[in-house]
């Protein structure tokens, strides 16, 4: 009797566990469904080509114009800037942590990296607005709200991602690689840079892609330092303000309605599709690395 009772319990609970696991799948499907449901009709109303490849964003004009090319380019610029700043520093720091760092220094640097990961984007944004923007304004032309300021803040924000994933992939390189290299008379530095890091390249690549994902999707930090003006393509400059896909949504959503609101959601759809593409390339890299 008791075993039958517990058998039923077992089956019920197992079903509950499985259903809980399905919630993530349902959530992803719901996000796709509702985002596309609101975004796709707007894109087809505006016209796909006119939406993606038109640089004129003037939703309050008559006739209104809803082109997001300038923001796509803006997102590409700030992300590329973040990678240029964040990847070299992050990778070097990862190499430092994995190969050169004495134990007592590790106990300081590693928690610092974790803390950097935990700082909310609003803090980065405010810090950027109060520290980086004035710095750029005083040292270069312009008012400081610029691609450069955004790239610096995003570069700092992706550091923890780059560092932790690269560090663990460098640590995962088998011991005998290094032994072989030392055996041939290479120095420690030559071994690290010519043997170990190249062997860890799929992990480093993963960290860069995750960093790109974080930079492209970041909103609040960028909105506070980018200036958010929609720039015609031929006037985009590193010291000039910029609007990205994410900041387009957050600056205008509060007063948008009708097709304007839908166009902002469509901007989110473009961002979402881009992130899905990044994720797919990530899982391709992962499965390729597993096969090797």
């Amino acid at each position: 009797m008791q075993t039958r009772h517990s058998n039923i319990n077992e089956i019920i609970m197992q079903a509950i566990f499985f259903l809980s696991a399905l919630i993530s799948v349902i959530a992803v499907l719901a996000i796709c469904l509702f985002l596309f449901m609101r975004g796709i009709p707007a894109i087809s109303e505006i016209g796909f080509m006119d939406f993606i490849f038109n640089e004129k964003w003037a939703p309050t004009n008559t006739p209104a114009s809803y082109g997001i090319l300038s923001m796509i380019v803006g997102s590409v610029y700030v992300t590329a800037g973040a990678i240029v700043i964040g990847v070299p520093i992050g990778l070097m720091c990862a190499i430092f942590l994995a190969e050169f760092c004495p134990d007592n220094v590790y106990k300081v640097v590693k928690p610092a990296v974790n803390l950097l990961a935990g700082i909310p984007s609003i803090i980065y944004g405010f810090f950027g607005m109060e520290a980086i923007v004035p710095l750029v304004r005083e040292n270069f032309r312009g008012n400081g709200y610029s691609i450069l300021s955004s790239a610096i803040i995003l570069g700092i924000m992706i550091l923890p991602t780059i560092i932790s994933i690269s560090e663990s992939s460098i640590r995962a390189v088998p011991e005998n690689y290094a032994e072989g290299s030392y055996g041939l008379g290479a120095t420690k530095e030559e071994t690290v840079f010519k043997v170990i890091v190249p062997a860890a390249k799929s992990g480093v690549l993963t960290s860069i892609i995750l960093g790109i994902g974080r930079a492209v999707g970041e909103t609040m930090a960028v909105v506070m330092v980018a200036g958010n003006s929609v720039m015609p393509l031929d006037q985009i400059g590193i010291l000039k303000p910029i609007r990205t896909l994410t900041t387009n949504i957050v600056t205008e959503m509060s007063y948008a309605s009708g097709l304007h609101e839908s166009a902002l959601i469509s901007t989110g759809v473009v961002l979402f599709v881009f992130i899905i593409m990044l994720n797919t390339s990530l899982s391709l890299i992962k499965s390729k690395a597993q096969r090797n």
């Binding site: 799948v25 509702f34 803090i123 690290v192 609040m220």
Partner: protein
């Protein structure tokens, strides 16, 4: 002979330079962190006072009290939703799912996808689904629903890791003395995995406290004079309070934005400390 000595010297110089550069980047990373922390804390902490923390909100005090209450409310209720779902999901993945199962592959893909979605996209989804379609309006409730989905991957992955780190001998021992699988999970596996699960929960708290983009269109930017636990009221959390203050551009509101930033950083500190403490405990267990 001469050339090879030259070559050796060149290699040594190169090695020294690389070593210097690597150390420099390590120290730079710590330096950036310290600079950000001091920048906010030094200007923010002197501005924190009792009226700011616990007073009534008006244009003079710019009090954070109601935002603090809203933030705590959001933390508690969204954890109540996501922790059971997340832990049960982790139990399924770690204890019940068979290897190579198709469903498991889909579930893992979904969790990875959720983890990669930017918070602004969660905000848009919450606005479309909870605010408009379900008719929750801009309210704390909409914010809670949105945030619960967002923190799910954090809770699932740390719980799964914690459950997997429980040694198999524990399970075998329990099953060996005749306990059912379910009893083993609840009496042996989960208690042993608790520190790791807690670490994940604390990490999730950190994310909720710092979240802005997902909440700005769901729970909204409204601020109440006095705190209220009304789930259907639109209320800003602490992070949104900081964003709004920073955006006002007045010297006084800027000071208070620094103060709010200091509070957020202190919370992040505590969260980080607690996480490493709990995570350290599993480390020792293994």
């Amino acid at each position: 002979m001469d050339r090879s000595i030259n070559n050796l010297q060149q290699r040594k110089v190169k090695a020294l330079l690389l070593k210097f550069f690597v150390w420099f980047c390590g120290i730079l990373t710590v330096g950036i962190l310290i600079y950000i922390l001091l920048f906010i804390l030094l200007k923010g902490i002197p501005k924190i006072n009792l009226v700011f923390l616990l007073g009534e909100y008006n244009s003079e005090t710019l009090s954070a009290f109601s935002s603090i209450v809203a933030t705590i409310q959001m933390i508690v209720l969204s954890l109540l939703i996501s922790v059971p779902i997340g832990v049960f999901c982790a139990i399924y993945l770690a204890e019940y799912a068979k290897r190579g199962n198709k469903a498991v592959k889909v579930i893992r893909l979904a969790i990875d996808t959720l983890a990669g979605i930017p918070s602004i996209v969660y905000g848009l989804f919450g606005m479309i689904f909870f605010v408009n379609i379900l008719g929750f309006r801009a309210s704390v409730l909409s914010g809670i629903c949105t945030i619960s989905i967002m923190i799910l991957p954090v809770i699932i992955s740390s719980s799964e890791e914690a459950i997997k780190s429980v040694p198999d001998t524990y399970r075998e021992g329990s099953l060996g003395i005749g306990a059912t699988r379910l009893r083993t999970v609840f009496r042996i596996v989960l208690p042993t995995a608790t520190p790791g699960i807690l670490a994940g929960i604390i990490l999730a708290i950190g994310r909720i406290v710092g979240e802005t983009a997902a909440l700005i269109f769901t729970s909204g930017t409204n601020v109440l004079k006095n705190p209220s636990l009304n789930l259907f009221a639109s209320q800003r959390t602490l992070a949104i309070h900081m964003y709004m203050l920073a955006g006002e551009g007045l010297p006084h509101s800027r000071d208070m934005a620094f103060a709010t930033g200091a509070i957020l950083i202190i919370v992040v500190f505590l969260v980080n400390y607690a996480t490493t403490k709990f995570a350290g405990r599993i480390g020792r267990l293994q």
